[in-house]
Subunit: 654 residues, 3 copies
Amino acid sequence: MFGVCYYPEHWPESQWDEDAKMMADLGLTYVRIGEFAWSRLEPNPGEYDFAWLDKSVATLASVGLKVVMGTPTATPPKWLSDLYPEILPVDPDTGRTRGFGSRRHYDFSSPIYLRESLRITEALARRYGSNNAVVGWQTDNELCCHDTALSGSELAGQAFQDWCRRRYVNIDQLNRDWGNVFWSMEYRDFTEIELPIGAVTETSPAHRLAYRRFSSDQVINYHNPMVEMIRQHAPGKFITHNFIPMNETAVDNFALAAPLDFTSYDNYPLGRTDLLMTDAPAEELRRYMRTGHPDFATYYHDQTRGLLNRGFWVMEQQPGPVNWANNNPRPAPGMIRFWTLEAFAHGADCVCYFRWRQAPFAQEQMHAGLLRPDNSKSEAWPEAEQAMAEVALLDIENQPLQKASVAIITGAEGLWVSDIERQGEAYDFNNVQLSYYSTLRELGVNIDFISVDADFSGYKLIVAPSLPIVDQAFVDKCRACNGQFIFGPRAGAKTSEFAYPTSLPPGLLQQLIPIRVLSVETLRADCQEPLNWNSHIYKSGIWREQLDASGSNDNEIIASYENGEAAIVRNQRFTYMATLTNRAFLLDFFQQHCQQADIQTYRFDEDIRISQRGNLMFAFNYSQHQQVLPLDPNVSFVLGSITIDPHGVTVWKI
Amino acid sequence: MFGVCYYPEHWPESQWDEDAKMMADLGLTYVRIGEFAWSRLEPNPGEYDFAWLDKSVATLASVGLKVVMGTPTATPPKWLSDLYPEILPVDPDTGRTRGFGSRRHYDFSSPIYLRESLRITEALARRYGSNNAVVGWQTDNELCCHDTALSGSELAGQAFQDWCRRRYVNIDQLNRDWGNVFWSMEYRDFTEIELPIGAVTETSPAHRLAYRRFSSDQVINYHNPMVEMIRQHAPGKFITHNFIPMNETAVDNFALAAPLDFTSYDNYPLGRTDLLMTDAPAEELRRYMRTGHPDFATYYHDQTRGLLNRGFWVMEQQPGPVNWANNNPRPAPGMIRFWTLEAFAHGADCVCYFRWRQAPFAQEQMHAGLLRPDNSKSEAWPEAEQAMAEVALLDIENQPLQKASVAIITGAEGLWVSDIERQGEAYDFNNVQLSYYSTLRELGVNIDFISVDADFSGYKLIVAPSLPIVDQAFVDKCRACNGQFIFGPRAGAKTSEFAYPTSLPPGLLQQLIPIRVLSVETLRADCQEPLNWNSHIYKSGIWREQLDASGSNDNEIIASYENGEAAIVRNQRFTYMATLTNRAFLLDFFQQHCQQADIQTYRFDEDIRISQRGNLMFAFNYSQHQQVLPLDPNVSFVLGSITIDPHGVTVWKI
Amino acid sequence: MFGVCYYPEHWPESQWDEDAKMMADLGLTYVRIGEFAWSRLEPNPGEYDFAWLDKSVATLASVGLKVVMGTPTATPPKWLSDLYPEILPVDPDTGRTRGFGSRRHYDFSSPIYLRESLRITEALARRYGSNNAVVGWQTDNELCCHDTALSGSELAGQAFQDWCRRRYVNIDQLNRDWGNVFWSMEYRDFTEIELPIGAVTETSPAHRLAYRRFSSDQVINYHNPMVEMIRQHAPGKFITHNFIPMNETAVDNFALAAPLDFTSYDNYPLGRTDLLMTDAPAEELRRYMRTGHPDFATYYHDQTRGLLNRGFWVMEQQPGPVNWANNNPRPAPGMIRFWTLEAFAHGADCVCYFRWRQAPFAQEQMHAGLLRPDNSKSEAWPEAEQAMAEVALLDIENQPLQKASVAIITGAEGLWVSDIERQGEAYDFNNVQLSYYSTLRELGVNIDFISVDADFSGYKLIVAPSLPIVDQAFVDKCRACNGQFIFGPRAGAKTSEFAYPTSLPPGLLQQLIPIRVLSVETLRADCQEPLNWNSHIYKSGIWREQLDASGSNDNEIIASYENGEAAIVRNQRFTYMATLTNRAFLLDFFQQHCQQADIQTYRFDEDIRISQRGNLMFAFNYSQHQQVLPLDPNVSFVLGSITIDPHGVTVWKI
């Protein structure tokens, strides 16, 4: 299904009828509204005004549209932060209060803001909970966007002390767990604990990991009551939240998603590509600047789907140039349709375009919509029409989401460890995970992102690109299932309290692969060294561990460094990669693994991506060249053909 | 005429006589003094000491020198900021008070500082207003230098609220004008308004534009009373101010200049070149590091002249290496003379060298003067002598300033819009304007910089490189005159309150060229695309608009993008460029336009610049090579010859 | 002799016996302990606990190990900064207090912290001063590390006023000395003086030099009483301090070292190399990333030795990958042994490895030790064993330290001047000094680093790479000795109060070489110009002075710029280089000078370094290739041979 993001409060009421009619005519089902409208819903403290929203909902409903109601807590009005200045967050890097004037100016540790958020949420939920036109709810908006997960406020400091008290119970335990004897960092009481910010030099990584866990909990503890409040007053309606990229929330997204009915994602492929390829050479960026990198959109689609392991929504879909990246190109012709089909291929149940009409004022006036400010239809319009027709034709939405053969284990702790202990400037959790994902996708395999708590059974291959912290339950689960496991470097390298395993890394994973990491070296990204595998020479770089693989006769050294030392060791179903490598290696290596695990792979052009949903196979051509797909000509094409246009899509049945 | 900047307070009185004698012997007319001497003029609160200045003025007058008296408000003494700490400005980026210890440590929004400034100015003006030796006055010094136009102080905040109250009268108007419904940014009262700083993410562009306008007004409201005070006590004497580069003041320079008799500029070609070419490859920088870029000095000369459309002064002329750029090369031999002649060619009435003698102490001890600290004559001395003789010989000063055929429309609002809404990281108001100016100058045409309020009549070609905000009066004026107009991209793209025109850009300019900007894309600077014009392929990049040119049969598509879409559209006298281009295009394009408008152009070597003053034509050779000018050998040379030396100047009569 | 750094408080007591035994078995003599243990020594205010330390000392002593006791003042415990928040320093760049959570969180200007530091030092010194097992003391740890020499606190501000009052006695003197008439910066009283931080633009260089001198004095005034306290209670025991690189302390290291018995240095060649070669191309960095740059370790060894002109200790020697550089490679095989021998060759009396066992917790858990956390021996262990055997075999420690033929004059004032007045972005005191040192080292000459106060007699060649401030005593001393002098650019360029000499630079040095610096230009590093010497063309760049060399008939222009102007001038024994040059020039130039001064030089491979200690000659091969040393085959090899392995060491007798 399809939807659109709409802000009735931005437009004269006289326009509302016509807008609704056009939406319905286009074939949209859903309209998301309300999520930034607090100052209109409560213009003065305690003085609610729902009349305009009543009317807007009624107008939309009158043509059969279904409303997704957003709660407006991302934008507390001026009077609220004036009444309660303590709701404002503090930038932990500078110590400066982050004030009013944009959005997300609230502190997750403020009890007053939680109370006020629940109050407006309750008022809204009471008003529209049983309104038939309102079929679902979105909480807040893009939680943690603009680096707001962490606050350095006094309220955060106090809440952190309480959090520590609950977790560690007594201060000696905390001192031991954090290794505070080092540099005389010992506390005598929980009230002495400060946030790990503003110190002379780096603070203890255990202290910082606790702060990250605490901050994640604060987000969840703020969000969960909101979900409950809506549930209470809007029984039977769905509740979702529109996530930003999982690595940018800086929180445990699995936990954040837990109370939701399904997850949503805001998909802006060009903005992401511009930001993530900032340092790319011009010839590389030009290749993707108007299409997005072939793996950036699906990387987040697959993660969003994985949070609850069910269909998700694209709550906001880029419809043209945006305003917030460093450079904001126009999508290549056909890309709006392309991205839409791609989202459905990766498990979307609904795609909503952001936004209905380009706003001619304020921060996002350069952000395209389906309509231009003069009400003309933008380039996205016919592409959306085409995509809607094709989705209907293919009946994609009714294709079941099958379990993938390959899973990638992800989670916030890997990100936090990488943020906290860089060790090598080029080791970055997200880059590592993305490089593994991207090569597997170039091989055409479907991928599920799973947490350490997932059910591993059924997966033929489970890859853990960066999994520093594991527990015994995880080890037991690995043992209990039948899949192949590939662990990237740093797996098991930290205890739950950010200590080095005294048995040496990979710590608990030694039960699966009896190896010892003797030392770790990190190299500048441009200083790579040879890696020998299968009689070919690849590259090893950035992170390189020295292994002792003598711990078991079953340990098989399958790749080695130039000096002959073990670089990748396999023990039965478990493979440990002691180093990061180049892309060429990952492609060949994963292909071999997939073949051994009986997983179908493809080696099409590097800019072609293959995705499966149900019995539909999709090919997406990210290149600017027409190509002939190396398929059996007898396959049953249902969209496009064996010849795929630049930025084209071909679908066949299996 | 010629002058020098002099600081008698820096030297023993015993030196003053000899200094004055040498100045007179050199042939100088003017001596600027006093502008940083507050701590000597008022060593303790209310306790004035004019004796030393009386004596200094008398000493200079005794040999016939004329004094330009600077008011010392750029350097409030320590006791003043100690008595009134509220005069100190606040850095809006960090929230930190900017303290004593250098200069410009005052807040334009401080009523106390305005009062104190008027007090010292009055004292000085009363003392020297009718002194015959003091022929003119300079207000303050380099207003807004060191990024001081904007302050984030509480005083600024309060003044901003008052300013908003005056401009918008009621808060609903302001909320509407700023689009505050977006993200619940609505205010209930003017007292709720904050400065647009320190927010979680970007604030509303309308809010920021208001802050820029307010800040500009604050500078002017501070400056104007000072001018009035001097006028009152020094009737008949001229009043000027020494501007820094117009784009660096961050204010409306036309308004700032309005009450002055003429404008002045502080000309440091090498420092500017080092800073502006920071990212240039070595081979490019080396070409100009000792001469300055061929268009950097005149770019500001022409703008300074344009502020009041009359002759200007170079109040400070670089005489050798300076101290404040990242790298400070020695001018190539001959450049002091070269820059001096160049300034006169572009309308200077007087050139004053900064400074008389290199100060052997404090911040500028590495800044050259006409004399070295040991009283020996620096390299600049003979070059100044030569320039003075040549200016006299040519009688340049009596050559009338003629109106140019080509005008460039400039103004602070274009700069503010570009600062506030980057959209593409490489779009920069000043770079755009400079690239247009520089190519026109390479074609040898004289250029007037004019404001939107200027009289357009008489110009054959009017170019608006970056003019996002226009009003109906402007449109009417364009219609009423006969010149050709060329608008760069973004023209008319914003309403006066920083909104997107609902009729789409170019908004009001659609009355001149009925086109619609359908979308805007921005590209990284190194990702250029083809531009087709006149059967040649040039480059389009950075900022690219998609046009609908179907609005009029008179619309002529004269250049197009690779996909055939319109890139430049002409309608009668009005041409709209929807994209930024490369320099090669601008050269060919402007040349064709000039030829069509019957404006003489030249295509000499790229490092030769041609300027006209009255009936004198100047050629300046910025290259390191001797060249033969492609002139009719029968022209009447009055300086140099058809063969022009490296860094040489040739002048002929027309 | 050899030692190790040990933290008994990090390990269970049950481990101590075994640790001590293993240390003794390895052949270690010294164990440094205690320097971060304040929270264990005084867990609550005034409540000491020495029992554990008594036991630890006894355990070590029981196997014959000697203890070096560190005072724990680098890590005040939490209760102390909670009781007295005024001990926390303030970052002068941001104005933010630097809080608890890591180390060095104290302000050198806090009288309370001095009192508390003396209290804990006294308690420790009383307890262990006469303990026979404790043979020496280390004060604090890495003073000034993490940029802690400068504080912007109120306490620092007050202390600075007092310091100024003592130095300048009356405010008029200070105003004159600082040139405060410039920009009305004059003070009426010492109480008006602020720290030179947070001003609108740059503050007076004289003000900043005073702040640097003051800050240096504060460090020394904090440190000296600690040394006295230990002396009082630990008579006959040695006292040392472990320095960080001399240019990173930002203080007068000669003064800081003065009360010590000998100096120590913490030697981490790979971390230094990664940081100092951050901008180096990959091929250059790869060459040294696992060995360290050939001159980085000895550059600091020689400086450390020079501070007291006697044997020094390496108190911390890198034993494997570290954790704190941007990238942390593994040392190439053999480098631990190599660095150890190198330290002894350059005058070390003892090398202590840091640390005994890799700590599995807190900030340094990725820092290697002699043992891994699982008690296995790391790669460093056998290399340390080898080094110990070889040092014993060669009897290096009993080889006398001979005076070198070549001295480099160093000192904090050159660094301060370069920090304060950049003038050219690429002029950097340490880079200049290092480039001179490194080329002399490539020529195989031993070098003494000396201060301006040293005895110059006996040196054949004295090089002053960057010596802006000199006094008459220095000039007289230069005259009185017989050595050759080479002064780099900027020599004598500042008075003691950071003024420009009114006789022009080189100021007082004009007595030795009657030249005048007419102007100074600085160029971007990649914009070099030709330099003519000995009929060859080299490069001149970054800093270039224009000279008048006509002041004496004995002035000999020995190198010149492209335009023929003097670039290097010699007058008898005194040579003045008016420009920085490329490495090729320095090599040829210094070689000629050494030959003329009868100093033996070598031109081996560029990665071979030759060092002499007593009658032992060492060759160190930093390259990855085996080489044959161009030696007389009849020399008496005592380690290795004429064929030197990659990363190998050859020693012969002379």
